[in-house]
C-alpha cells in the first residue's frame, strides 16, 4: 500500500531529526545537527534492507517516489515565500558567494581532470 512507503519516509525523517536534535544537545550547540542528512541515510539504509527482502512492492515505492517528484514544485513554492526585499538589502553577498564558488569549482575541475588523466595514462573514452 502507498501509505507504507510514505509512513517509512515520515518515520525516517522524524527519527533523523530527533537524532540531529539529540546530537546538537550532546555537543552543546543546541541546534539541529545534520538531521536531514541523517534522515536520508536512514531512508537509503532501510529501503535497501527492505528491497533485499522483497518487502518493498511497487505500491510502497510510489508512496516515496511521489514526494521526490514534488521536489521541484516545493522548491518553487519555497522561492515564492522568500523575503526578497530583505535579501536584496543584505547586499551582494549572494552574488559574491555564487560567483566565487563557481569560479573555484571550474578551476578545481580543470586541476582534477588533468591530474586524473595523467595518473591513469589517458582518460576513459566515451563508449
Amino acid at each position: 500500500m502507498v501509505i507504507y512507503g510514505t509512513a517509512l519516509l515520515a518515520a525516517c525523517l522524524l527519527l533523523g531529526m530527533t537524532l540531529g536534535g539529540w546530537l546538537g544537545a550532546v555537543t552543546g550547540l543546541n541546534r539541529d545537527l545534520g538531521g536531514i542528512g541523517l534522515s536520508m541515510l536512514l531512508l537509503i539504509a532501510s529501503t535497501e534492507w527492505l528491497r533485499r527482502r522483497k518487502l518493498l512492492p511497487a505500491a510502497s515505492q510510489s508512496g516515496i517516489a511521489w514526494w521526490s517528484g514534488m521536489y521541484v514544485p516545493i522548491v518553487v513554492a519555497m522561492a515564492c515565500i522568500q523575503d526578497v526585499a530583505r535579501a536584496v538589502s543584505g547586499g551582494p553577498a549572494a552574488f559574491f558567494a555564487a560567483i566565487l564558488a563557481v569560479a573555484f569549482g571550474l578551476a578545481l575541475t580543470a586541476l582534477l581532470c588533468r591530474s586524473a588523466a595523467r595518473i591513469s595514462g589517458d582518460a576513459e573514452k566515451l563508449p
Binding site: 521536489y71 521541484v72 575541475t109 586524473a116
Partner: protein, 256 residues
C-alpha cells in the same frame, strides 16, 4: 483581488493548500514552456520557475509589506505550507530513495574526493563572500556558506542553526545564482577544463554539485555525460545537508 467574484475567492481561501498546488503547477508549466521556447533548453525550466518564484515573492513582499513573499497575499497563504520547512524537508529526504548503495560504490574514490573537495570549497567561498559583506556571526556565515553549495543546503543549514530569515533568503538566492551560472557556463567551459569523458563528468558533478545546474549544463554540452555527473551530484545536496550543520557550523563556532 477584488476582480475575482466572492464565491470563487471563498473556495480558494478555504482550500488554500490546493490553491497553492494549482498556482505552482501553473508557474512551472509556464516556465517549462518558456525555457523550451526561448532558451532552447539551455536554461532548465525548473531554474526559470524558481527565478520567477523569487521575482513574484519580491512583488508580493512589495505589495503587502510582509516578510513571507506571495504567502502574505490572502489567497496564496497555502504557499507558506507547501514551501515551508516540513514539505521542503520531506521532499529532500525522499530524493535519497533513488540512491542505490551499489552505485555509491561504483562512483568510488574519485567521486568521493570530488564531493568532499567541492563541498568544502563551496563552503569556504560562501563564507568568504559573507565575511566580505560584513557578516560576523557563525549562524549567518554558515548559512550563506552553505548557500554557495546549493539552494537547498543553505536554507536547511540556516533553519538548523537558527539563522535570520533574511540570511536564509540570501543563501537561497546564492544557490540559485550558482545553478543558473553553472547552466550557462558549462557548455563554454567544457573544452578548456577537459570535461569530455565520464570520469571528468563525475568529478564535475561532485565539485559543482548543484543538480539542476550540472544536469542542464551538461545536457547542452554532451548528453552522454549527464548520468555520470548525476551519480556524484546526487549526493552533493544530501552530504551538504549533513555537513553544513554538523561540520561547518561547529567549525565556525570554534573559529570565532
Amino acid at each position: 483581488m477584488n476582480a475575482l467574484p466572492d464565491f470563487l475567492t471563498a473556495v480558494l481561501r478555504r482550500y488554500d493548500f490546493l490553491t497553492a498546488l494549482a498556482v505552482v503547477g501553473l508557474l512551472v508549466s509556464i516556465a517549462e514552456w518558456s525555457a523550451a521556447r526561448f532558451t532552447r533548453g539551455r536554461l532548465h525550466g525548473s531554474a526559470l520557475a524558481i527565478a520567477a518564484g523569487l521575482l513574484l515573492a519580491g512583488l508580493g513582499g512589495a505589495l503587502t509589506g510582509g516578510t513571507k513573499g506571495l504567502a502574505d497575499l490572502p489567497l496564496l497563504g497555502g504557499l507558506g505550507l507547501l514551501g515551508g520547512d516540513m514539505f521542503r524537508d520531506v521532499a529532500i529526504v525522499s530524493t535519497a530513495f533513488g540512491v542505490r548503495v551499489a552505485e555509491l560504490r561504483k562512483g568510488g574514490l574519485t567521486g568521493l574526493a570530488a564531493l568532499v573537495l567541492g563541498l568544502s570549497s563551496a563552503f569556504t567561498c560562501g563564507c568568504m563572500a559573507a565575511w566580505a559583506c560584513g557578516y560576523r556571526d557563525a549562524e549567518s556565515l554558515a548559512t550563506i556558506g552553505a548557500g554557495a553549495a546549493t539552494y537547498i543546503v543553505g536554507p536547511v543549514t540556516g533553519t538548523a542553526v537558527g539563522a535570520q530569515p533574511a540570511v536564509i533568503a540570501i543563501s537561497f538566492a546564492a544557490g540559485l545564482v550558482k545553478a543558473i551560472l553553472v547552466m550557462l557556463i558549462t557548455p563554454a567551459a567544457a573544452r578548456p577544463i577537459g570535461l569530455n569523458n565520464p570520469r571528468a563528468a563525475m568529478i564535475y558533478g561532485g565539485l559543482m554539485g548543484t543538480n539542476s545546474g550540472v544536469m542542464a549544463g551538461l545536457a547542452a554540452t554532451d548528453p552522454k555525460l549527464v548520468p555520470y555527473a548525476a551519480m556524484t551530484a546526487a549526493f552533493y545536496t544530501g552530504l551538504g545537508c549533513l555537513a553544513g550543520p554538523l561540520l561547518l557550523y561547529p567549525l565556525l563556532c570554534w573559529l570565532l
